[in-house]
């Protein structure tokens, strides 16, 4: 079980308090109607599925309830950093 640092609560809590929220930094088109079918499909379905560092969303569901982002290594599961929604991913 992972220990995850909630950037809002500023403490490490066990994974069971959190819910996974999928890939981070997906941008919903501002004007969906103007998006082509291909662009919209890509937004809906295409994910990077990286081997290695992966920016992803988690929610502190049983804590503060906030969504935040983190960088997790998909090989080792190691979460190197968590950061608040809206912030750019820190460079490692």
């Amino acid at each position: 079980m992972l220990l995850i640092r909630c950037p809002y609560c500023e403490m490490e809590r066990p994974e069971t308090e959190f819910r996974y929220g999928g890939e981070a930094h997906l941008v919903r088109p501002l004007h969906p109607a103007a998006a082509s079918d291909e662009e919209w499909s890509a937004f809906l379905y295409l994910r990077v599925n990286d081997k290695g560092l992966h920016a992803e969303r988690w929610r502190h569901a049983s804590g503060c309830g906030r969504y935040f982002n983190c960088l997790r290594d998909t090989i080792t599961d190691k979460i190197s950093v968590t950061y608040k929604s809206g912030e750019a991913p820190p460079s490692l």
Partner: protein
């Protein structure tokens, strides 16, 4: 009988405490401190099981948790029976009842041993090759046969009578293994003041020290040093000692999972004690001191009862005072077996011969053996054995330079003690994702780079000698608390032992014609491994799966390195080139019950009950589950069957009035200046201009355009909405709301509160509904003129604040009374008292589903399955076309969602008006469609309507709306039913009854 094979003194058993037990119905006696294995050996019982595939007679190979052969079932009561326990780990208690497994009719006479005669037809990959055809035969014919023939123990038939506990713990240093290295680590860490947890799989802490009779540590006999060390640790308040606790899993961030056997070893345990306890431990630092496993030598017929690992033979003597044979042949490639020979000889076991594979054996141990007059032959291989239920001869031959061996000379013996050397136990290190390296000198994989705050110490990283293990452990313990390593303790009488051999022992003749076992538990021979390479398997992972070597519950503890060496030789590659398979958890088998812990039976899942649950239970409700909720299905009266009760509730509601507990409806308070804008973006309907006091049905899509939830949304104020959701969708909906508000539109000022459990919701439907409420409601004019359909008012009912809505899910005049949950029952009873005056009924979920379906109202999750659009449901007109965007809108214009011929919701009327279709049944357009024809769709809801006096259904059918007026067929268990396709509304099409 008592132990015939027990020496007079020595060992850690208590000869003053005899213990009676049975094995396969036969009575035996052992002593306190025995395991089932040692007690059986003491009684001369070597035959303890039959092998997995060939049903070969098997005895003990080892003395510990790595045992592959002696698997037994334990427990005199069916409700406490446990199969597949390793006899080497089963502690003896008075009355213990054990049985052997995988044999019929008995252990000594097993008819299925004929599998062995046909074994040349059951090679590696046999299942894959032979049981492919005919199609379908695998499930119906082959698998059941194979399962019966090859297997482990049987599952108990009765419900488990024991209970199981879960515990979380945190510590500074967790130490796995309480042998010399682990104990030294614990001492060093504890003296540094750290919170230490020391785990060991055995009943007694001490590891190899428990069988150490010669060595002196710190000037004391090893047993005294052990006792003093344990006393110091036990007295330290910040140290937790956990014997009988197997750390079986090493997860991310130093999270360890361990299984403690709490009461299995007790004759009459305190019923308050759990049987097992699952530990979940988060440690700042971990020291792995897991020790090493001795390896078998792979020679033909190396699996007969009486052939065991040399240090196990020595251990049974040193620890339990048991001589495992009268005349032994020692087969070895490692010095440590000489020590076994010496100690066995000292106890009176005749040592016929020490056959050492190595050309020379000149360490301290071999010299001592020669000095003691034991016959030592170097360059000697075992090329076979004889015997049936017990080994009778070892065939010993000269090892030639070309890697083969000569013809064997038969040497009579009843024990072959073998040693191929030692394999560090790197299972947990590997689970922690640490990287292993192959040590050419040791010919073993050892820990290289740690992935976590972890250090291996002692034999599990190749520090085999007692002095090395103690020093390494102390250094690891000190490092874990950032202290300097303590000065090493002095060790005497424990010289280092060297040597080792990997792979197939030099054979005499064609090795393909003999059975030399590599993996004892899964019955994999050297021949199987080489066959796999000949058939094209190159990766060790493929060889493992093809032969099943290392895949038994023993996790290949005794077999992996030999299998790897045989494969590498066959492939002409080095061992590191071939690589090691992944070590999986659990290290030893873990019971499902311990993982479930308290989450069983009524505690398996939380149960949600509404504030009106007790009233319903007192008034004849039958409940069903809806998510975690208990919902009343119907209220049977004495003498009524289900059909009669449902009919009475249906007709009563349509004709007069019905009350229902609707408290399970999800409720979310959506508040803020941007609340309307937010809902406008989330639902397909328009909410921006919804008037205060008005309600609107809301349909929610996911971003892919499919219906996810629905409910009625009421506007209480400019900035306040009372949102209802489906009963099981509430948590999902509020999560989605939070997601969009926090991450997509953080500029909107809107907040969400789950209020599902704060409100009791009472639905009153039917022409007399208003009549029932009027006397009770205060401050709200509920007349048709003042309170139209789809409105909500705040006021009081019987003095209690209420949010009163006029809504209907039945098509009748309907109200929903929301009151604070604590007042729910009182208000329900007050309304019920009024209801009785107008002959009102109480109805349950069954009736609600029928009444709504008669009106064609959908249930999300029943008419929808995550691939259904609003237009598919005929609800396309609800979409607020003027809105530039809402969640899912863009997707509705995607080609597949906008295409012709999608499945659309229609009504079905079976030609036989009393025939009820199965929900989920396929709709087809011919009475006997050709095989391979796609179905048109499926039935989503199907009921008998007491109001209509006939059955009806709803279905999703391809191009359904254009088929209205036509017919189709529905497949059923009774054959194909003809149906008419109609509009999905069956009652009061004009909607007049809303204002009846």
């Amino acid at each position: 009988m008592t132990g015939d094979n027990r020496v007079q003194s020595g060992g850690r058993i208590d000869r003053a405490k005899p213990i009676g037990f049975t094995f396969d119905g036969k009575k035996f006696t052992g002593f306190a401190g025995d395991t089932l294995a040692s007690a059986l050996l003491a009684n001369g019982v070597h035959l303890m099981g039959r092998s997995f595939k060939y049903h070969r007679p098997r005895g003990l190979l080892t003395m510990g948790s790595e045992e592959p052969n002696a698997l037994v079932g334990v427990g005199s009561q069916e409700s406490r029976f446990t199969p597949n326990l390793r006899a080497t780990q089963v502690e003896l208690y008075e009355g213990l009842t054990a049985v052997s497994q995988n044999n019929w009719p008995s252990l000594s006479l097993d008819f299925q041993a004929v599998n062995g005669l046909f074994s040349s037809f059951i090679p590696a990959g046999f299942y894959y090759k032979t049981f492919m055809h005919p199609k379908g035969a695998w499930e119906s014919l082959y698998e059941p046969l194979i399962r019966r023939a090859a297997g482990l123990g049987r599952a108990p038939k009765a419900r488990d009578a024991d209970h199981y506990a879960n515990l979380y713990a945190h510590c500074d240093v967790a130490i796995v293994g309480a042998g010399p290295a682990g104990l030294a680590a614990a001492l060093a860490a504890a003296r540094g003041g750290a919170r230490v947890m020391l785990f060991d799989e055995q009943a007694e802490l001490g590891g190899s020290l428990l069988a150490e009779s010669a060595a002196r540590i710190d000037g004391k006999p090893a047993a005294d040093w052990l006792a003093a060390t344990l006393a110091e640790l036990a007295a330290a308040p910040h140290v937790t000692l956990l014997p009988r606790t197997q750390i079986f899993g090493y997860y991310a961030q130093n999270f360890l999972a361990g299984l403690e056997r709490v009461s299995d070893h007790l004759a009459s345990p305190d019923p308050k004690l759990p049987r097992e306890r699952l530990w979940r431990v988060r440690a700042k630092r971990v020291v792995l001191a897991a020790g090493a496993h001795e390896r078998p030598l792979v020679f033909p017929d190396n699996d007969r009862p009486g052939i065991m690992l040399a240090d196990a033979a020595r251990g049974f003597l040193a620890r339990y005072g048991v001589t495992p044979g009268a005349r032994a042949v020692i087969a070895t490639a490692h010095d440590s077996a000489y020590r076994a020979a010496l100690e066995l000889a000292q106890a009176g076991v005749a040592i016929a011969l020490i056959a050492d594979l190595r050309p020379n054996a000149e360490g301290e141990w071999p010299e001592a053996a020669r000095k003691a007059g034991l016959r030592v032959e170097t360059g000697a291989a075992i090329v076979g054995t004889r015997g049936h239920l017990r080994v009778s001869h070892a065939l010993v031959a000269k090892r030639w330079a070309d890697g083969s061996a000569g013809r064997g000379e038969a040497i009579a013996c009843d024990l072959i003690a073998m040693s191929g050397g030692w394999t560090p136990s790197v299972h947990l290190f590997s689970q922690s994702r640490g990287k292993l390296a192959f040590d050419e000198t040791l010919q073993a994989f050892v820990p290289d780079v740690s992935a976590q705050a972890e250090r291996s110490a002692g034999a599990c990283r190749g520090a085999f000698a007692l002095s090395e293990a103690l020093a390494d452990g102390a250094a690891a313990g000190a490092a874990a608390v950032s202290a300097a390593a303590p000065a090493p303790v002095s060790v005497e009488g424990a010289p280092a032992a060297h040597g080792g051999f990997l792979g197939l022992s030099p054979p005499h003749g064609d090795p393909q014609k003999s059975k030399a076992f590599v993996d004892f538990q899964n019955d994999v021979t050297a021949r199987d491994v080489t066959l796999a390479t000949r058939e094209g398997m190159r990766s060790i992972e493929h060889i493992k799966r093809y032969t099943t070597t290392g895949m038994a519950t023993d996790q290949g503890k005794t077999s992996n390195m030999n299998a790897l060496a045989i494969a590498s030789q066959a492939l002409g590659k080095t061992i590191p080139q071939v690589g090691l398979t992944t070590f999986r958890l659990p290290y030893t088998p873990v019971t499902f019950a311990s993982i479930a812990g308290m989450s069983r039976r009524e505690l398996f899942d939380p149960v949600r009950q509404t504030p009106l649950h007790a009233w319903a239970a007192e008034n004849g409700a039958t409940f069903e589950e809806a998510g975690l909720w208990k919902r009343a299905s119907y209220f049977k009266r004495p003498g009524e069957d289900v059909k009669a009760a449902v009919a009475r509730e249906c007709l009563g509601t349509r004709e007069r009035a019905g009350m229902m507990d609707a408290s399970t409806l999800g409720k979310i308070e959506v508040v803020g200046p941007d609340a309307a804008e937010f809902l406008n973006r989330l639902y397909i309907n328009a909410f921006a201009k919804l008037g205060v006091g008005r309600c609107r049905y809301g349909l929610m899509l996911n971003e892919a355009g499919y219906v996810m939830d629905d409910g009625v949304i009421a506007r209480l104020a400019q900035d306040r909405f009372h949102v209802t959701t489906t009963s099981v969708g509430a948590a999902h909906v509020i999560t989605l709301m939070e997601d969009f508000a926090q991450t997509e539109w953080p500029d909107l000022k809107v907040w969400f509160t789950s209020t599902t459990e704060q409100w009791a919701t009472i639905a009153i439907n039917g022409p007399r509904a208003r009549q029932m409420l009027e006397p009770l409601v205060e401050g709200i004019d509920i007349s048709a003129a003042a309170m139209p359909h789809l409105s909500m008012r705040e006021g009081h009912i019987c003095g209690v604040p209420t949010r009163l809505a006029r809504v209907s899910f039945t098509g009748e005049l309907g109200f929903e009374v929301n009151v604070p949950a604590d007042y729910g029952r009182a208000i329900w009873e007050a309304i019920w008292a009024e209801g009785r005056k107008v002959d009102c009924v109480v109805y349950g979920l069954d009736v609600l589903l029928i009444l709504r379906a008669e009106k064609g109202f959908i249930v999300v999750g029943q008419e929808t399955d995550g691939t259904v659009t609003p237009d598919d449901l005929g609800l396309g007109k609800m979409i607020a076309q003027s809105k530039p965007d809402f969640v899912g809108k863009r997707s509705l214009a995607m080609p597949d969602l906008a295409r012709e011929g999608r499945k659309q919701l229609v009504g079905l009327l079976p030609d036989d008006s009393q025939f009820k279709l199965d929900e989920g049944a396929q709709v087809v357009d011919a009475i006997a469609p050709a095989i391979g024809t796609s179905a048109l769709g499926h039935v989503t809801s199907s009921y008998f309507s007491p109001t209509l006096g006939r059955t009806f259904a709803m279905a999703l059918v391809a191009g359904g709306r254009s088929r209205i007026g036509g017919t189709a067929y529905v497949t059923t268990m009774q054959g194909t039913a003809l149906v008419r396709i109609v509009e999905p509304i069956f009652y009061d099409k004009e909607g007049k009854r809303l204002d009846a």
